[in-house]
């Protein structure tokens, strides 16, 4: 039997939504038995959610080497041991900041093939697709060895329900932390903010936003939409937004269902980070702006006029 394993990323609100797309991708192999690996000790709380997407076994990982919660190397060692122990062929996870880090550590430890940020996966033929050249091309990559590791770009594979009964397993890995790396602290700059790379909807303000406070205008609209707020590099360089909000080649890569770009010229480097969005909307004062040549819907107008009206209309329709 083909066994797929998934590292489950959890946060304050439990299992992150985007995991369900990864589980769905793993089910693409008709005959796969799906294992979910949980590191935070709360596996039983996630049982309902995970089994409704077809997870057959939830493995709650612990170690003899101490608390797993904030030790990247220990987590990786425990996962690598579990992948071997449960004879996993395909080990998958989210291509989030955490996921890319953790999965790369696991693949390096196992000397296993790794493809990060996959946008398509065919487990039967061991081929995956991913962006090359910042979204200008898509590469099909053949994976030549087992087990292998893939991270999946959030939101690129639509989650589909497939209820089953799952079994809870405790597994203690006999690994130690090499002790070369320790997390000193975690700083939350914006609590409760929707994570850009996992957001279903993103509204981005470019250079014309003009001041950091003006992002509030976008935030208000984002609040109604349940969206995250992004920025262009020009806006980041001008000091209007932190780099953590930057989308593009040298910022974050996102793939939401809806991307609303306000005051963006449509630069190649910005598009590198959001080109795979499902629907792209542009709001720009200039009818000739390049962005209107490569998006789905457009409104020619000043973002300072259009965005408040958009917020208003969305609020009215909600109530």
């Amino acid at each position: 039997m083909f066994k797929a394993g998934i590292w489950i990323e959890t946060g304050e609100n439990g299992v992150k939504e985007a995991n369900f797309g990864v589980i769905t991708a793993a089910r693409g192999h008709g005959d796969a038995e799906i294992h979910a690996f949980v590191l935070d000790g709360n596996a039983d709380a996630y049982q309902d959610a995970l089994q409704s997407y077809g997870v057959q076994k939830i493995v709650s990982l612990g170690t003899d080497g101490g608390d797993l919660s904030s030790k990247p190397d220990l987590q990786a060692a425990a996962l690598a041991e579990a992948v071997n122990h449960f004879e996993i062929t395909a080990f998958l996870g989210l291509s989030s900041a955490r996921g890319r880090d953790l999965l790369a550590r696991v693949a390096a430890l196992m000397d296993a093939p790794l493809v990060q940020d996959c946008i398509g996966i065919d487990l039967s033929s061991q081929t995956v697709s991913k962006s090359h050249f910042s979204g200008k091309t898509v590469a099909t990559v053949k994976i030549n060895a087992n087990p292998f590791v893939c991270s999946v770009r959030p939101n690129t594979i639509e989650a589909q329900i497939a209820p089953c009964q799952c079994e809870l397993i405790e597994y203690r890995a006999s690994v130690q932390d090499p002790g070369k790396l320790a997390v000193k602290e975690i700083e939350k700059s914006r609590t409760g903010a929707v994570d850009l790379t996992e957001a279903n909807i993103i509204i981005t303000g470019g250079y014309p936003i003009g001041a950091a406070e003006n992002y509030n205008l976008l935030q208000q609209c984002a609040d109604v939409l349940g969206a995250a707020v992004g920025a262009s590099r020009a806006a980041v360089d001008a000091g209007y937004a932190p780099h953590s909000m930057q989308i593009g080649q040298t910022g974050k890569t996102v793939s939401p269902k809806l991307y609303i770009g306000c005051g963006l010229s449509g630069s190649v480097q910005h598009f590198a980070g959001m080109k795979t969005s499902k629907v792209i909307v542009a709001i720009n004062t200039d009818a000739e702006a390049p962005i209107f040549e490569k998006c789905d819907y457009g409104i020619i107008g000043d973002l300072f006029e259009v965005v408040p009206v958009l917020t208003q209309v969305l609020r009215e329709q909600k109530s």
Binding site: H132, A139, V141, E187, G298
Partner: protein
């Protein structure tokens, strides 16, 4: 400090990519130093300025990669090692092994800097494999770094607007992200001086690696078509916004 910086030679961010032969591309476009690697070079150069030592660039690439290595030397690195291969896309595990061999043959690293990712193949793994090969600790996506005697403190973004501060034992591998520093444009004298700096060339075949079995290989490369022209909504601001919301609800079924 003996610092090695892994620098990749990649097509310019704004270059048009023309696919040729199904899985390759026309390499006639402009090539540059991988943008993230510039932050790596700058950080290494600043560290050596403060602590003394040497910054050595290591590149796995074609002979043409020398041009990017010269640009990185102009940023203040001391010399370079080019591991010559004839493939632009080499499996990441092999690349990491080649980098490891080249570094280990040259000296003893106190730190190794990489970029967080290459912008052509977007592998996002070389620093981790390199660290594993050396038995070092690794942190990537680093936006702030301070280095003492035998440890470094690095900060990186972990999503959701949160950053994590890590303590790392030296020697280690650091993957630089934008935000780590702000590399200045090299001035003409630096560019001229860079032309005289040593770039040692070694052939990848002479490193004793098994090149016959790549863990991954690209079997197809396809251009992604741009979306066409936008559908523009006309009328007053309110009218156009209402049409937009309607389209997102009824046609796209998003809202």
């Amino acid at each position: 400090m003996q610092i090695y910086v892994c620098v990749k030679h990649v097509p310019d961010t704004a270059a048009r990519i023309t696919v040729v032969g199904g899985s390759g591309f026309a390499e006639t476009c402009k090539f540059i130093v991988n943008p993230y690697d510039e932050y790596a070079v700058e950080e290494a150069v600043q560290l050596v300025k403060r602590n003394g030592g040497e910054v050595v660039l290591v590149t796995v690439g074609k002979e043409s990669a020398v041009s990017s290595m010269r640009s990185a030397l102009a940023m203040g690195a001391d010399r370079g090692i080019l591991v010559k291969t004839d493939a632009q896309f080499l499996d990441s595990a092999l690349t990491a092994q080649a980098l490891k061999k080249a570094i280990a043959q040259d000296g003893t690293a106190d730190m190794i800097f990489c970029g967080r990712q290459s912008i052509d193949s977007e592998g996002m793994q070389t620093p981790f494999r390199l660290a594993q090969a050396f038995g070092m600790a690794v942190v990537t996506d680093v936006v702030a770094l301070s280095v003492n005697e035998n440890q470094a403190i690095a900060e990186h973004d972990i999503g959701g607007g949160a950053t994590e501060v890590l303590q790392i034992q030296l020697p280690c591998v650091i993957g630089a992200n934008r935000g780590l520093n702000d590399p200045p444009y090299p001035k003409l004298p630096q560019v001229l001086r860079a032309k005289k700096k040593e770039i040692k060339q070694v052939d990848i075949a002479d490193l004793g690696l098994d090149l016959s079995f790549p863990l991954t290989e690209i079997i197809k490369l396809e251009a992604v078509p741009e979306r066409g022209k936008a559908k523009i909504f006309e009328g007053s601001t309110r009218e156009s916004v209402e049409q937009l919301v309607k389209a997102l609800k009824e046609e796209e079924k998003i809202l």
